[in-house]
Symmetry: C2
Subunit: 481 residues, 2 copies
């Protein structure tokens, strides 16, 4: 639909647009704010709906606002004043005085208190989750589940839940049968079982850098070696670099978060995913795809998965509901492709089966369509929160701060002045009851000592704003030391 | 209290006792049947309570009946006609055409159907479990748990549940603080985490023979070597043999089920436990103690644990509620002693935390005393069932059949004529919709090919009796081939 279609007076829509632009510039309307609907705008200004639409269309063209599907118009970034994104680092050996495991355990312990302003976690605030409706599904399961859910569940998972998980694959265009699904106790069990199924101690595994610390921990614990692949903050792993590593270092498996990587927030373009699957297929090695954030996209469409391009069953797709529905229910899954039998055996050996009650409850919740409905709200909330947090960091942090621009998920990857050590910052911040995740825990070989991960899972409020302000002041203080 | 205390007429009590003895001999009263109370007996026979008591006392002295605490009198074994117990085998290398893993997966799959008469599992029938009361605790947790139990639980487990588990240690005389408890997803996760905490691939672990197949599977999967210690059907592992293995084969850890071993049913006398702890302390190696059946004793007292005798934190005590309360809730735990930090790290790496809801629900169930109450009933039921099943096997199987005499737990260990291969029997039985656990899956190096495990977790009924009769006929047929 082009401008030529509109018959309203050019002058009027430009005046209206100009007024809105001034409100944005003056931060009366702030990044992430919802604009009035076209109807309300036409009534407020006494203009036709067509003119109101044209005003928004003009602002959208200037990159000041954006339309979100089935939701309306929102104030978006003004890219001209938006900070730079973090830089890509080349992995190289580093030594640190504190082990990653020590840092992780310390941070996890710190986040247990309710008083802490918690930027360290990559998970949703409880108030964003459909607690009451999920409770109803639990009661339904108690009443209607076989033996009231007190008996053992199948090792591979509850049959109805496996069906519902298979159905979720429709969202990324996949055709999955329930028999291909194995339910796990969260995504980490899915990844750990997958790694065990395809490697033996001493093998080398390729991982993008930066990556979620839990992945390094489990790899190390399984006696595997890591080769880190540098990763672009927007498009994810450097594929030529990966291919070279596979060829030169006898990589036995690759493990990646293609959609909304934690912590970088990168999302591999679909053509990269296709190319990646071609590479691993050519070398006949498995790819463990952690798609835990895939459903939490801010754009119009769910990004595809690598599994979508897989024809040989080499892609092992892992995910969970811990980030999108119920962290404490520990419902994850794996689509192990050609490694189905190995993963199933390992699951049976190590935990027999996952708990019955939570599986039956979640299967019910999914089957009546409540999950899809909830996701729509959650995506909107997270998108708005991401913009608010970016704005907050821009406001309170030094000018040379670089911030990622995630198109989904929970986290911002923030690069500070090289003088700032974020592990020190983390220690200082805890004295102010604020927790962050320092960059060093996201790599074995890159330093990332002036990077940090900021989770925006909690809705914006005064406490959050005050937390970012305090953090910003601490950073400024450290820069001047 | 001796006979001399009774003033009633000798002749009368002997007549009454004689009548009861005839009913037992004629199988009008069968093994495991509850006898009338002393009061009812006195009313029925028109005798004094003292005479009635004396009649029971007389029969008890003859080994025909037994008193159970707070429950009354029951018909017990007549040892004069009771079959021999299974023989102890010396571990030696064997080769088989089917792998244990294949057998296990096949049997597990077969037991999923409701039509199958299931002697293959070592777990309680659902009807023996307090489903309705546990449901109430779930609803209580949904209403009163923090954030309605939707959020992550601590890696080490729900604080109230850890407190309740620590309290359970009172039952075996232990003093455990909640901080020493780590909640796991069932006992298998507890064992797997413990093994990983104290060994590295290539290490040797000592295991009693026969032992639960899951233990061999997880040991093999972790790249560990097994040395099997021969075990007495009544008193458990041969300690001099174990000590020699520790010395000669550089054993890095020992793993045992001291109380009501699965499948043999043996229970280590407390002095053996004490001696065992002395041995491992002297060699400074950890003992992983699987006490999953410890609460399901038929006698007057709960047997002690090895942990009770441990002063150095070398005993890693593992257990769960899967066999006694709710298999599908997957609530297990480990008291890791000096390995607390390692086990906690591993738990965090591999599953982050166990599900919140089931932990909070079970903590409530335990805190209001319902678990102890339920256990009392469950013990009585299992004791009676064990006797009924023994009687059934005696009735329908060939005379040379040997049967264990468990004093707790769920299983009978049955030795058949050497001509009978129980894996073949298992295959034949499945054609009749009956499942058993063949002996070969309980060892890597002993053959046990003419042994089988029969679970008596299901209450005695016509279907069970018919199942044992069919099994007995199949055995007779195989002996005559």
């Amino acid at each position: 639909m082009g401008k030529a279609n509109f018959t309203s007076d050019d002058h009027i829509y430009l005046q209206v647009a100009d007024g809105i632009e001034k409100m944005i510039a003056g931060e009366i309307l702030r990044i992430g704010d919802k604009l009035p609907s076209v109807r309300v705008l036409s009534e407020e200004y006494g203009i036709s709906m067509g003119t109101a639409f044209q005003a928004y269309y003009h602002l959208e063209g200037k990159g000041l606002i954006e339309a979100r599907p089935k939701s309306g118009y929102y104030v978006r970034f003004n890219h001209r004043r938006f900070p730079a994104v973090p830089q890509m680092l080349q992995p190289e050996p580093v030594t640190t005085d504190v082990t990653v495991q020590e840092m992780v355990m310390r941070i996890l312990k710190s986040t247990a208190s309710d008083n802490v302003t918690n930027f360290a976690l990559a998970s949703p605030a409880i108030e964003l989750l459909p607690t009451a409706k999920l409770n109803k599904s639990v009661v339904h399961a108690l009443r209607n589940g076989k033996d009231h859910c007190i008996g053992y569940e199948n090792t591979e998972g509850n049959p109805e839940l496996r069906k519902q998980i298979a159905r979720l694959a429709f969202n990324w265009g996949g055709k999955v049968s329930p028999e291909e699904v194995i339910v796990t106790t969260g995504c980490m069990e899915a990844i750990a079982l997958s790694l065990r199924a395809v490697t033996k101690p001493g093998d080398t595994v390729a991982v993008e850098s930066p990556a979620y610390f839990g992945i390094y921990q489990v790899i190390e614990n399984l006696g595997l070696k890591v080769v880190e692949i540098s990763s672009d903050p927007a498009t994810g792993p450097d594929l030529p670099c990966l291919e070279q590593a596979i060829r030169d270092l006898r990589v036995k498996a690759v493990i990646l978060v293609p959609n909304f990587n934690n912590p970088a927030g990168s999302c591999m373009p679909d053509e990269h995913k296709k190319k990646l699957v071609e590479i691993i297929t050519q070398h006949n090695i498995p790819l463990i795809e952690d798609d835990i954030y895939g459903e939490l996209y801010f754009g119009r469409h769910r990004p595809k998965t690598c599994k979508y391009y897989d024809t040989k069953g080499l892609v092992i797709h892992c995910s969970s509901l811990s980030k999108s529905l119920a962290p404490g229910y520990r419902i994850g899954w794996v689509l192990p492709g050609q490694y189905l039998e190995q993963v199933s055996s390992l699951k049976q050996m190590h935990t027999i089966s996952s708990p019955t009650l939570t599986q039956v409850a979640v299967a019910h919740f999914l089957s009546i369509g409540r999950y899809e409905y909830h996701l729509k709200n959650l995506r909107k909330a997270l998108h708005t929160q991401s913009l608010r947090y970016i704005q907050g960091i821009m406001q309170y942090f030094p000018e040379d701060t670089r911030i990622s621009r995630p198109q989904g998920g929970f986290v911002l990857w923030v690069e500070l002045n090289p003088k700032v050590d974020t592990y020190e910052l983390c220690t200082e911040a805890l004295k102010h009851q604020i927790s962050i995740a320092p960059g060093r825990i996201f790599s074995n070989s890159c330093n990332y000592s002036n990077y940090m991960r900021i989770g925006y899972g909690s809705p914006w409020n005064d406490k959050v704003e005050k937390g970012l302000k305090t953090l910003g002041n601490l950073v400024k203080k450290m820069m001047n030391q």
